[in-house]
């Protein structure tokens, strides 16, 4: 698993790996929003948590189809399937690698971008924590979607359609946690729900991904 993780990280940072693509997209969306809705603090402040979360979710989506597609195309996926590493472990590893190259940079960059949206100072800690808890779920759910659509031509659109509805709970509770934090309310419940979704997804979805990959490799 470590070998696969290191390989995926190495591939991501080498030329053409797509590392930073999600981050750049995130940055652009957040910078564009004030241009679109105007720099008015009373407008930006209440929508900041939601915008940041939606942008983070879309940036995650951007690189999902690469999780398995590249390995499928060059034949490594079939070779991995016949290796001692179970496909379930391979999908967890690939989701973790995806999170380390997309979710983690987003989590770190989000507070800096919150400034552009006039987010309340109280909310920054909540934003970081909610993204740190929620984005792993986006990666593992995304890996499941990628496993389902691997091998399909133009699978990217179908992948988005499959995965976005599954992202809704994470989005709702993530944005809610930040909103409550901004308004000085207790945010325990959304945080607990967010953590529950993430851990539940990590416990269950790798088996679904493994099964989906096996079917697609036939």
């Amino acid at each position: 698993m470590i070998a696969l993780l290191l390989r995926d990280l190495r591939l991501a940072v080498r030329a053409g790996g797509g590392f930073g693509l999600g981050l750049a997209f995130f940055l652009i969306v957040i910078v564009l929003v004030p241009f679109g809705v105007g720099p008015d603090k009373t407008v930006l402040e209440p929508i900041a948590p939601g915008i940041l979360w939606v942008a983070a979710l879309l940036s995650c989506l951007l690189s999902l189809d690469r999780i398995f597609a590249l390995d499928f195309e060059d034949g490594s996926l079939a070779l991995l399937a016949t290796s001692p590493l179970p496909l379930e472990a391979a999908s967890v590893t690939k989701a973790v690698a995806h999170w380390l190259t997309t979710g983690l940079p987003l989590t770190i960059a989000a507070p800096a971008l919150g400034v552009l949206l006039h987010m309340k100072t109280d909310a920054y800690a909540y934003l970081t924590l909610s993204l740190a808890l929620g984005t792993p779920a986006l990666s593992i759910i995304g890996a499941f979607g990628a496993a389902l659509t691997v091998g399909l031509k133009r699978g990217g659109l179908l992948l988005s359609l499959l995965v976005l509805p599954l992202y809704v709970p994470t989005l709702v509770f993530g944005a809610e946690a930040v909103r409550r934090g901004a308004e000085g309310m207790d945010a325990t419940t959304p945080f607990v729900m967010l953590a529950g979704i993430t851990f539940g997804a990590f416990a269950l979805l790798p088996f679904a991904s493994g099964a989906a990959l096996r079917v697609n490799l036939k």
Partner: protein, 205 residues
């Protein structure tokens, strides 16, 4: 240790392509599969390697000893030759033996990114994977595609000396003569009847 296949029927997309294939390969032996394009050599090898289920019949293969090499090499073009091999060695919990680079004529290419290799060099890299994973039963699908005569000889030597002489087994689908002392099996007599029906839901699963 031996590979024993009895009455195997394999299907592609729910349609049976080969029926009642039976053979036994003892340790230290190779079996060369022959047959026209589309007869089902790849399907048979994929079934043997466990990538797809058999329709009927039995495959007796030593547990956790098989490896598969397909048309595609599984080589990552952004990684160097060394990194590619080390990855596969790590996945199988092995070390990369230093001699592997000589056996496959890769010594001068060790630090080159795999993306800059020629098709034949890439193929040699893909085949050298078989030397680092330490598996005893190899299922090879057209291993010599895009190799020149010299490289075919290198690969045949590797197969004979490093694999078969160590008690390994190989089932090889190929159209050329590898120069191995191995029995050949023509798949033509096993071709499935054209009207043979598959499992109803097989195509969708």
């Amino acid at each position: 240790m031996e590979l024993k296949v009895s009455d195997l029927t394999v299907a592609r997309g729910g349609i049976p392509v080969l029926e009642n294939v039976s053979f036994t390969v003892p340790a230290g032996q190779a079996l060369v599969l022959r047959g026209a394009n589309g007869i089902g050599k790849t399907t048979l090898l994929r079934t043997l390697a466990g990538l797809q289920p058999e329709q009927s019949g039995q495959i007796d293969c030593p547990e956790d000893e098989s490896a598969y090499a397909s048309h595609a090499d599984g080589v990552k073009s952004q990684l160097t030759v060394e990194e590619n091999l080390r990855f596969w060695a790590d996945v199988y919990g092995n070390q990369v033996p230093d001699t592997i680079y000589e056996q496959f004529d890769l010594v001068d290419l060790r630090q080159r990114a795999a993306g800059t290799l020629s098709a034949g060099q890439k193929r040699r890299l893909g085949l050298s994977r078989l030397g680092v994973i330490g598996r005893k039963v190899l299922f090879l699908d057209e291993p010599t595609v895009s190799l020149d005569r010299f490289s075919v000889k290198l690969f045949a030597d590797f197969l004979q000396h490093q694999h078969l002489n160590q008690g390994g087994i190989a089932v090889i689908a190929t159209h050329i003569d590898l120069g191995l002392d191995a029995p050949e099996m023509d798949l033509e007599p096993f071709r499935a009847a054209p009207d043979a029906a598959g499992g109803s839901d097989e195509a969708f699963l």
